[in-house]
Symmetry: C2
Subunit: 349 residues, 2 copies
C-alpha cells in the first residue's frame, strides 16, 4: 500500500520483519550540517519554519548527506502556541521567548482555537512539498510537542531550570493546568491529523519535559493528554512514536497511551525495557548523543552494545537518546548510520 | 556516646528506633533566607566558604530559623579542585568558572596532592567552630562532591548542558579519566576523614551528575570511586549518605558502595525503592523542591504522600529531592519542617 522505496522504518515501527535495523537521528535536520547552516545564515529560524521551500530543503539534507532511513519535517514544537495566538521571539543568546506567558485563566481564555489549514498552512505546505521532493525515497515523520511540554514553554515563557511557574500552576491551580492541557491536546490532535492528511507517514510526540514531574504527576498532567491525542488521531496505518525523555518508569502503563513505538533516552537499558513491554510496542533509541564526539571505534562499539542489548528480532529503530548536538562532526553521524546499516543484519536472521 | 540533644537524624540514618521522622533540606543554608542574604551581601561566596565565622553563622541559621534536625556545613564542592591547584572564579551571571580546565594528561599532572590540614584548614576550622556554636543541639553533616561530579566541573570548566568535554574524555581517553577520578577520590577521602576528625557527625556525598551517564558508565566512572571513598573513611559510627541525582536504577548494586543512607530525587518512588533495597539502608528524600512554592495545604498533602509511600517504621530521613530553591518563601520551608515534625509520629508507632 506504500510506494516507498525504503520502508524499513515503517516496518520496524509496526514490528514487522526487516532485514536490517532502520536508523535516523532526532534533530538530524540541524546545525551540525554545514549545508543546514548555509540555509540558516540567510534566514532566521522562524522564517525557515514558515517557508515550505526552506523547510523541505533542510528536511531532505540528512537523507542525501547522511543516509538516514526516515526524514522528519523541519519545524518547531512552538508553532502550536504561536497558532494559538502567542507571540514568539527567538533571542540568539536565550532561545525562544514568549514575552506574555500564560499565568492566569484570563491569559488562557485569550488563547484561540486553531484552524490548522489556515493558521498552520505553512507546515502542511512544507509536508506536501517535502513528500513531493522526497519522491518516496524514505518515509516522512511529522512531530509535535506533548501538551505538557508545550504548557511548560507557554507558562514559563522561556527556557527554565526549575520550571517554577508551571509547577506553581499544577500545585496551586490544577484546574487551570488541566483546562489548558485539554485545549492544547485538541490543538495538537487537529494539527497531527492535518499532517497525516497532508502526507506524513508517521508521527512522533516529544515529551521533552515529562521527566521533571513526579511519577503520579507525569500520568496526571502529561500521559493522560498524550493518550487523548493518540486516540484522536485519524490514521490509516501511520505509526505513532512517543518519546518521553527521563520517564524511566512504569513502561507497561506508558504504552497504554496507544503508541506503536516508545522512544528511549540513553540512561535507559533498552534490553530491559524490551522485556518490560514484552514486545507489545517497538522501541526507538538510544545512543548517548555525545558518543558522536568519540573516535569511530568507540562509536561502533557503543552502537553495537545497544543492538546487542535489544537483541535478535524486529521492532528496533536505531536513534540517539536525544537530539544530535550542534557541534558533532557530520562524518561521525554518517559513520554511525553506515555502521548500523552494515552491522544490524546479524540481528535480523 | 553522643551528647547530642537531638540525635533523631543520626538514629534514622542507622535505622534505629525514632519517635518521629527527622527532617532537613539540601541547601538549607542558602539564599531563600533573608538572614543568609544579609551575610552574603557583605562577602562574596568564596570568602564565605573561607571564613569560618561566616560559614558557621549561615550553617546554623536554618537550625534557629527553620528548626531542621541536622545542620550541614556551608561550603562548596569545588573547594577540592581549588585545593588541588585550580583557580576558581565566581562569575555572577555564569556561576563558578575554572579558566584553565583539565583536558590533557599534562593538565592532570599539574594537579597537586592535597594536604587537608594546610590547604583546607578553613573548612576544618569552620567544622570546629560550628560544632562549638551548635552546642550539641543537632548533628553536623559534612559533605563532598563525588569524584565524577567534581571531574565534570574540572573538565568542563563551567556549567554545562551537554557535558561534551568530560564525555569526550571518558570515550576517547578513559585511562586519563580513571587516573583523575582516582586522584580525586584520594583527595576526597582525606578531606572527609579530616572533616570527621574535626567533628562532623555524618557525611553526605553528592553525585549531582551521575545521572548524565549510561547505566554501565555510572558504575564504571562514578560508583566505583564513591565506593573507594566510603571504604577509605575512618569512622567511629558516622553514617554516610550517598545522593546520586537521576540514578534511578540498580539500587541493590548502588548500596554496595557501603553507604548507610541513599538519597533519592523526587522522580523516584520512595516506597518502591524501599522494597528494592529491602531495608538494608535508610532512605533520604524526596519532595520536589518546587512544592515549596505551593499553598500550605498542598505542601502538607504531598509531604504526607511521601511518608505514606515510605510507610511504617524507621530509616526515613525527610528531605527535598534536590536543593531548596532560592526564591522559596522561608515560611513555607518552616511550615514543611513543622508539618513533618507533627505528622510523622504516626509512622513510628
Amino acid at each position: 500500500m506504500s510506494n516507498l522505496k525504503n520502508d524499513l522504518f515503517l516496518r520496524a515501527c509496526r514490528q514487522e520483519q526487516v532485514e536490517r535495523t532502520p536508523v535516523w537521528m532526532m534533530r538530524q535536520a540541524g546545525r551540525y550540517l554545514p549545508e543546514y547552516r548555509a540555509v540558516r545564515a540567510k534566514s532566521d529560524f522562524i522564517t525557515m519554519c514558515k517557508t515550505p521551500e526552506l523547510a523541505a530543503e533542510v528536511t531532505i539534507q540528512p537523507v542525501d548527506l547522511i543516509g538516514v532511513d526516515a526524514a522528519i519535517l523541519f519545524s518547531d514544537i512552538l508553532v502550536i502556541p504561536m497558532a494559538m495566538g502567542m507571540h514568539l521571539e527567538m533571542i540568539e543568546s536565550k532561545g525562544p521567548v514568549f514575552h506574555k506567558p500564560i499565568r492566569t485563566s484570563g491569559d488562557a481564555k485569550a488563547l484561540k482555537k486553531i484552524e490548522v489549514e489556515k493558521d498552520l498552512k505553512y507546515v502542511l505546505d512544507a509536508v506536501r512539498l517535502t513528500k513531493q521532493e522526497l519522491n518516496n525515497r524514505v518515509p516522512l515523520i511529522g512531530f509535535s510537542g506533548s501538551p505538557w511540554t508545550l504548557l511548560t514553554y507557554m507558562v514559563e515563557g522561556k527556557g527554565s531550570k526549575n520550571f517554577s511557574e508551571v509547577k506553581k500552576m499544577i500545585y496551586n491551580n490544577p484546574e487551570l493546568a488541566h483546562s489548558l492541557l485539554d485545549k492544547i491536546a485538541d490543538a495538537v490532535t487537529d494539527y497531527l491529523n492535518a499532517k497525516i492528511e497532508a502526507g506524513c507517514d508517521a508521527i512522533q510526540i516529544f515529551d521533552t519535559w515529562g521527566g521533571i514531574l513526579t511519577q503520579d504527576e507525569f500520568f496526571e498532567f502529561s500521559h493522560e493528554y498524550i493518550t487523548k491525542i493518540v486516540s484522536g488521531l485519524k490514521r490509516k496505518n501511520e505509526p505513532v512514536i512517543v518519546f518521553a525523555k527521563g520517564v524511566y518508569y512504569k513502561f507497561k502503563r506508558q504504552i497504554k497511551c496507544g503508541c506503536d513505538v516508545l522512544g528511549l533516552d540513553w540512561t535507559m537499558d533498552i534490553g530491559r525495557v524490551r522485556t518490560r513491554v514484552n514486545d507489545k510496542v517497538a522501541l526507538q533509541g538510544n545512543l548517548d548523543p555525545t558518543i558522536l564526539y568519540a573516535h569511530k571505534n568507540v562509536i561502533a562499539e557503543k552502537a553495537l552494545e545497544i543492538m546487542q542489548s535489544y537483541g535478535q528480532g524486529n521492532g528496533h529503530i536505531f536513534n540517539l537518546g536525544h537530539g544530535i548536538l550542534p557541534d558533532v562532526p557530520p562524518e561521525n553521524a554518517k559513520f554511525l548510520v553506515d555502521f548500523i546499516k552494515e552491522a544490524s543484519y546479524e540481528f535480523h536472521k
